[in-house]
């Protein structure tokens, strides 16, 4: 990682975090009428994976897509406009938080129905093979999605066809409030996938450098073996499943200690890493300020933007 790269990664991580914090700050004003599944704790996973895969690689995600969207686009204007339901949003107010996409940056689809985009990614990888291209495809999904039949059906087909597809399981150990132990008949997803012709790797989802390294190694294996890959990354979901609050008080899980908070916070982890490499605190602070300014302006624009007109209801249905 050269210096410029380090700062760019720091900027993307910070942009995502500050955008989420801005949502938390303003959500109560009721101008963003959309169910938000915030990414705090998860940010490093899409940032790391997207950093490794070639630019423009087709990507798919879930309703917990803010980090992925911003990692690929860094475009907070269309992001906040969409959350505000405005015409200037990426989906003209027809997507909301749960269906963000940006095909021009490779993000083809995300979905509010768990597991839904996994086979779409397989199809995108099939299209690559069909055209004798080798651009990789990545799909991000939660640990709960790996319980759906469609995950296993997709995995099987991708392996049988040796597709160039990276499955990224973002494991926060929770499906809404249900812990893994209440849902899984297996102890490790990488082991469960181990019987398939699929390369696997794991990484600490709170550690951006580790994710980048693991993704690089896995991608090399995939290229060498001509097999799909599964990257399993565990992370800590700091907030409630949907919404802006912490929910430790409800009792279904323990609040983290201060030390755990620091260890599971990808932004703290990465900035300490950069500082230990000799980056100057002022360089990082300058990025913070610049990012805050970008977000502040985006929110201002989103607020004053127009809602779609009535005609928009019937537009975009057919080609």
């Amino acid at each position: 990682m050269n210096k410029g790269e380090g700062l760019r990664l720091y900027r993307t991580l910070t942009l995502i975090r500050r955008a989420e914090e801005a949502i938390r700050l303003h959500y109560g004003e009721d101008d963003m009428k959309t169910p938000v599944h915030l990414s705090i704790g998860q940010e490093a996973i899409p940032v790391g994976v997207c950093h490794v895969l070639p630019e423009g690689s087709p990507m798919f995600g879930t309703y917990r897509n803010h980090a992925l969207y911003l990692a690929l686009t860094e475009d907070t204007d269309r992001f906040f406009a969409e959350l505000h339901g405005k015409e200037a949003g990426m989906g003209r107010g027809k997507a909301g938080s749960m269906h963000l996409c940006e095909p021009s940056r490779g993000l083809l689809a995300t979905s509010a129905v768990v597991g839904t985009t996994i086979p779409l990614a397989v199809g995108a990888a099939l299209a690559q093979a069909y055209r004798h291209l080798r651009q990789p495809v990545a799909v991000f999904f939660g640990d709960g999605a790996a319980e759906e039949g469609v995950f296993w059906e997709s995995l099987n087909f991708a392996c049988q066809r040796s597709l160039n597809l990276l499955f990224v399981c973002e494991d926060n150990g929770l499906a809404i409030h249900a812990p893994a132990a209440d849902r899984r008949g297996f102890s490790s997803i990488t082991q469960a996938v181990g019987g398939f012709r699929c390369c696997t790797a794991t990484a600490d989802g709170s550690d951006l450098s580790a994710i980048i390294e693991a993704t690089r190694a896995l991608y090399r294996d995939m290229e060498a073996d001509k097999q799909p890959g599964l990257l399993h990354v565990s992370y800590f979901r700091f907030l409630e499943h949907v919404g802006i609050g912490e929910d430790f008080f409800t009792g279904y899980r323990q609040a983290p200690s201060d030390q755990e908070r620091r260890e599971r916070d990808p932004l703290i982890r990465f900035s300490s890493h950069l500082l230990s490499l000799g980056y100057h605190p002022a360089e990082l602070r300058a990025i913070d300020v610049e990012v805050d300014d970008q977000i502040c302006r985006s929110i201002g624009r989103a607020r004053s933007a127009d809602y779609p007109t009535a005609e928009a209801l019937y537009e975009d249905l057919w080609v």
Binding site: Y27, D30, K33, T34, P35, V36, G85, K86, G89, G91, G93, K94, A95, G96, S97, M98, H99, S111, A112, V113, V114, G115, G144, A145, E147, E148, G149, V150, A175, I176, H177, A178, D182, R183, R184, V242, G243, I244, T250, G251, Y252, Y307, P308, A310, A312, L313, Y314, L317
Partner: protein, 346 residues
């Protein structure tokens, strides 16, 4: 005994009553026993009946629907709960190919006493994948009963009737109805009930499903002040459909609006309109009007949502057409007032 309670409480109360009465009844599904308890509708069940009779599942709707069918075939009475009706689509093979048909294909040897409860989402940007009802679609498959309770009494009586029914029943519960309060007579236990006249009138019949009943009642209030009396009918059970109460009403009014909580195309409103066209051919003074979703996927932003969903306003405008009235000034009326009460995020 009659008690005042909310729709959500009535659902939990009904499930507890049936679980008490019949040890083969169990309630399961994603998030059923967590602290939110499907918006409170499964509250108290795990405490009272334990985790063997009230439990969560993996995210596996297809398999879990099959599991429910298998358990029902084996003499249990499962209640499978989904926080959104849209997720039933993942279990559609089991629902449409198996649950609906096993009894028929076995020449009457098998029975599938299974209840599927699912919530219809709306508002706060639920969007295209969290807002469907699909009662017409489920009703399309012979062998499935489909109900949409509107009042707390209906929530209570229809859930109890569904659990006691030896056939598969899908109950679709509109999210906004959960807060509605009403009196519930716990002794009122009819089999799955058909259409009911919820407001008597003489001028126009409005046949409604689910939330549209609330909208029609609002329209009826407004129109009453302008001398127009609507007869509002809540269909409640769309399959199998007993249209006779609607036919009798239209025989009296000669005018009919079908206000369905769904798209119009090939939907329940089309089915009911076809039946009314047949049975009321001689008495209809005007063509039947149908009101439903705009023919697009549900958008997320509020201004487009408001245009997407049918409302009291559209009912009033349809009544004006049917009665050749001048357009009523609605600028002083407040609509969507209920929506302001529903805050996100889910």
């Amino acid at each position: 005994m009659t008690e005042t309670m909310t729709y959500r409480e009535a659902l939990a109360f009904a499930a507890a009553k049936e679980m008490d009465a019949d040890p083969t009844v169990f309630v399961f599904g994603l998030d059923v026993p967590d602290h939110k308890r499907i918006f409170g509708s499964t509250k108290g069940l795990v405490e009272k009946f334990g985790p063997s009779r009230c439990f969560g599942t993996p995210l596996s709707e297809d398999a879990m629907t099959g599991v429910a069918i298998g358990a029902a075939l084996s003499g249990l009475r499962p209640v499978h709960v989904h926080i959104r009706a849209d997720f039933l689509l993942l279990g559609m093979n089991q629902i449409a190919n198996v649950m609906s048909s096993l009894r028929y294909m076995s020449g009457g040897a098998l029975r599938v006493p299974l209840v599927i409860r699912a919530v219809i989402g709306r508002g706060w940007g639920q969007g295209a994948q969290h807002s469907k009802s699909m009662h017409g679609l489920f009703g399309h498959f012979p062998g499935i009963k489909v109900g949409l309770p509107t009042s707390p009494q209906d929530a209570y009586s229809m859930l109890r009737a569904a659990i006691r029914d030896d056939n598969p029943v899908i109950l679709l519960e509109h999210r906004w109805l959960y807060d509605i309060e009403g009196s519930v007579d716990e002794q009122y236990l009819p089999p799955l009930p058909g259409p009911v006249v919820v407001r008597q009138g003489t001028d126009v019949t409005v046949a409604c499903t689910s939330w549209m009943t609330i909208e029609a009642m609002k329209a009826a209030d407004v129109l009453a002040r302008h001398g127009v009396r609507l007869e509002v009918i809540d269909i409640r059970t769309v399959a199998p459909l007993d249209e006779t109460p609607v036919v009798s009403s239209v025989a009296k009014t000669g005018r009919c609006i079908i206000a369905d909580y769904d798209w119009l195309y090939a939907g329940f409103s089309a089915e009911l309109a076809a039946r009314l066209a047949h049975h009321c051919f001689g008495v209809l003074k005007k063509p039947i009007e149908r009101i439903g979703f705009a023919p697009v996927p549900c958008p997320t932003t509020r201004p487009l949502e408001n245009l997407f969903y049918p409302s009291a306003v559209q009912i009033i405008r349809a009544v004006e057409r049917l009665l050749d009235l001048d357009s009523i000034d609605l600028s002083q009326e407040s609509f969507y007032s209920y929506e302001e009460r529903f805050k996100g995020p889910f």
